[in-house]
Amino acid sequence: MADQHSSTVAVEFHTPQDGRVRLEARPGPDAPAVPGSPLRLRSLRLTEPWYGVDGGQVTELLQKRVVRTGGWAQWPHYDALDREIGIGLRLLRGCAAVSRPYPQHFSRLVGYDVDEPEPFALFLPYRGEPVSRVVRRFLLPGQRAFESGLFHCLQQLEALGVSHRSIGPETVLWDQRASRVQLVDFGDAAVRGSVVTPVPGSPWRCARDLRSDDPRFDVWSAAALVCYAVTGRPVEGGDPAKDPALRGSSLLTLLPRLLDPNIASRPTAREVLRGLGHFEIWPDVEDGAGDTEFELGGAEFDSYFPPSARAGSVRSESIPAEQRGSR
C-alpha cells in the first residue's frame, strides 16, 4: 500500500484468477469486521471503475485486513484471514465446478495479498444489514424467505465440505429489499478433512460442536439464529418450538432435531431444504474432481509405489493445530 497520509491509497493485489491488479482508492474508516474480530474492515472507494469481476463495473470494495499494532500480530489473526481467502477461493471454484453463477448470498472474494505487512482480502460490498438490526421485524413472507435462504447457504457450503462455524446475528445479513440472505465473515470456517481449529463457545454454537468439522455444526447455529431473529430471545434450553412467535416458521416441526445437541442426530441442510420443498440443490463437490492432470499424477505414483495389501486406511487427522485466540 502506498502513502497512508494522502487521501488515496494504491492497492495492489492478486486476483482469484492469479492475475495482478493495481487500483487507486479512498479508504473509509476502520471498524472491526465483526465485534471482537481481530480483522479490520473498511471500504475502499475506487477513483476509477474496475471491470475485473465478471465484466461488471466495480466502484467500491471492502478490505479486510490484519492490522499491525507495533508488536507482532498474533498468528491466529493471520490464520483467520487465510481462512477468509481460502474459503472465498473455494466458493469460486465450487460454483464453477457445478456450473452455477456465483451465489449472491455469500460475500465474494475479488482479491488478496498475504505478503503485505498488513495482509488483506478484498470483497465486493456486502448486501443487507446484520440480523441483529432486524430482530422481530420480519413479516411472515420475509421470515420464510430468510429461513429458506439461510438453509440454501448452508446446503451449498455443505456441498463444498465447508462449515462456517460463526453463524450469528452479525455474520448473517438480511437484504430487505431483495428478500435475500447474505452470509459473510468466514474467518472461523473449517473444511471437512482438513485441520480444525477449535472455536470458543458462544450462544450461537452448540457447546458440543466446538471441535467439529461437520457442516451440521451450522444447522444448529442457523436454527438458533432463526429463533432469535423471530422471537428476540436466544435459545436457552427448553423447547423454542412452543414459542407462539415461531408458529409461522417453516422450520417449526424440525426445530427439535435442528437443535439436537448430538450433531449426528441433526438433519443435513440438504434434508432440511428437501423437507421445505426446495429442490434446487448443489451436488457434492469433491476436491480435485475432474482434475485430470492430478489424477494422472496419482496414477503414476501408484505405478512406482503399488498400494500395499498391508496398508490400513489413512487416519483422519481432524486434529487442532493450535488454540485460536479469542476474537
Partner: protein
C-alpha cells in the same frame, strides 16, 4: 511435556569404558565415518582430548564423576590419514561411541529455502520434536551446535531475519550439525550436510567421500522456482541440481556396489501454495500420534500428483531413482521475507514452521532408526 507413545525408551546400554590400560588391545569400537573429513576413523576406547586440547587417558581417571565430566566434553582425534583427509582434526566423542552415523545430505539450488529449512528442522529437533516418534535427541557437538544457534537459529526465530541466500555456486559439501538420537534399539548419531548441486560436479576427494558416505538425501524443491522456470510449452524447465546430484551419487556408488540412498523430496515454501486444496489439506497437520506410514504414503502421492500437475517432472527425478523415497509438503517459516528499512530481509509475520520434521521422520523410518509398526513400508 511431550511423552512419546508407549513412554520413554529405556536408556541404551552404554558400552563400558575399558578399566585397565591395555595399550595393544584392539578397540571394541567400530570404525565410523568422520563427519569433518568423511574418512574412516576408529577410537581406541581411552584416548581423548579435553577442552584445552590436552590429551587425556581415560584409563587413568578412576573417579567416575571426574571421568564422566571429562567424557562429556571430550573429543577424539580422527585416525584417517592426515595427508589425505585435510590434516589433524578432532571430533566429538559421541560420534564414535555408538552406531554408524547416519549421513543426510540436503540438496537444492540457491534460494530454494534449503538453509532455512535446515535451520527450522534443527530447531524443532532441539525442542524435542522427535519425541512423538519415541526418540530422544541431543546435540552431538555442543560448540558446533551453539554456533549454529547463534548464527542461524537466533536470527531466524529470534529476529525473524531471513538467511542470506546460499551462494549461487556452492562449491563444497558442508557439515552443518549433528545429533545423538536415542531410539528403542540404541543410539545413532545423525549428521546433516548442506550440498550445493555445483559442489557435486567437482571431482574432489571430499565430495567423492560424501557420495559414498551419504545414506539419505533430502531434495528441496521451490514452488516459486518451478513457476519461474516454466517454459512456453507449459513444462517447468530443468533444475539441474537434482539430476546432477543424483546421477553422480548413483554412478559412483554403483561402481562400489552400493545401493542408491533413501530420499525425501520436499516441496519447501508450501505456504506459497496454501490456498490450493491439496496443500491446504496437509499443511496444518501435525504428527501427534507418531509414525503413520499410510499418511506418509497419502501425502507422498499428493505431492507427486501436485508436482506432476505443475509439469515439474525434473523435480520428481529422485522418485524414479531412489528407493525408499517419500515426498512432503513443508513450510519452514509460513511466509515470505521482505526487505525492510535497514536493508535486512525480515519475515513480517514472524516465523512459524510447519511439518518440517516429517521428511526427517520418514528418513529415520527408512533407515531403521524409527522402528514403529509399518516403518518398513515407508517409502516403499
Amino acid at each position: 511435556m511431550i511423552v512419546p507413545p508407549g513412554g520413554w525408551p529405556d536408556p541404551p546400554e552404554q558400552r563400558a569404558l575399558p578399566e585397565s590400560p591395555e595399550p595393544e588391545a584392539e578397540s571394541q569400537y567400530d570404525e565410523v565415518r568422520c563427519p569433518l573429513c568423511l574418512g574412516m576413523t576408529r577410537w581406541d576406547g581411552h584416548t581423548v582430548y579435553d577442552v584445552s586440547g590436552a590429551e587425556v587417558d581415560l584409563n587413568r581417571i578412576t573417579n567416575p564423576l571426574k571421568r564422566a565430566e571429562v567424557v562429556d566434553y571430550a573429543r577424539v582425534k580422527c585416525t584417517a590419514p592426515e595427508e589425505d583427509f585435510g590434516g589433524k582434526h578432532y571430533l566429538p566423542i559421541d560420534y564414535v561411541r555408538w552406531e554408524q552415523p547416519l549421513v543426510i545430505g540436503f540438496i537444492g539450488g540457491s534460494e530454494t529455502g534449503k538453509s532455512t529449512l535446515l535451520t527450522a528442522m534443527v530447531r524443532e529437533i532441539d525442542r524435542g520434536g522427535l519425541a512423538v516418534y519415541g526418540l530422544e535427541s541431543e546435540p552431538l557437538d555442543r560448540e558446533r551446535h551453539r554456533e549454529f544457534e547463534l548464527t542461524r537459529i537466533e536470527p531466524l526465530f529470534g529476529r525473524a531475519t531471513a538467511h542470506d541466500p546460499t551462494p549461487r555456486v556452492q562449491k563444497n559439501v558442508q557439515f552443518v550439525d549433528a545429533f545423538r538420537i536415542t531410539h528403542a534399539g540404541g543410539v545413532r548419531p545423525v549428521a546433516f550436510f548442506d550440498v550445493g548441486g555445483e559442489g557435486l560436479r567437482m571431482d574432489e576427494p571430499g565430495v567423492n567421500r560424501f557420495l559414498y558416505a551419504v545414506e539419505a538425501l533430502i531434495f528441496v524443491a521451490d514452488p516459486a522456482l518451478i513457476e519461474k522456470n516454466r517454459q512456453a510449452d507449459g513444462f517447468a524447465g530443468k533444475d539441474g541440481t537434482f539430476q546432477t546430484a543424483l546421477d553422480r551419487i548413483i554412478r559412483v556408488r554403483r561402481e562400489q556396489a552400493i545401493a542408491p540412498p533413501a530420499a525425501a523430496v520436499v516441496l519447501a515454501k508450501s505456504d506459497m501454495r496454501r490456498f490450493d486444496p491439496v496443500v491446504e489439506r496437509w499443511l496444518g497437520r501435525e504428527a501427534r500420534d507418531g509414525l503413520d506410514p499410510d499418511s506418509i504414503r497419502a501425502e507422498s502421492r499428493d505431492v507427486y500428483a501436485f508436482l506432476y500437475r505443475l509439469r515439474a517432472t525434473p523435480w520428481l527425478y529422485p522418485v524414479s531413482r531412489c528407493r525408499p523415497c517419500t515426498l512432503h509438503f513443508v513450510s519452514a517459516t509460513s511466509g515470505s521475507a521482505r526487505m525492510g528499512d535497514e536493508d535486512v530481509a525480515r519475515y513480517q509475520r514472524g516465523v512459524r514452521p510447519r511439518r518440517v520434521l516429517e521428511p526427517l521422520a520418514a528418513i529415520l523410518a527408512m533407515s531403521g532408526v524409527i522402528d514403529a509398526p509399518g516403518a518398513d513400508r515407508v517409502g516403499r
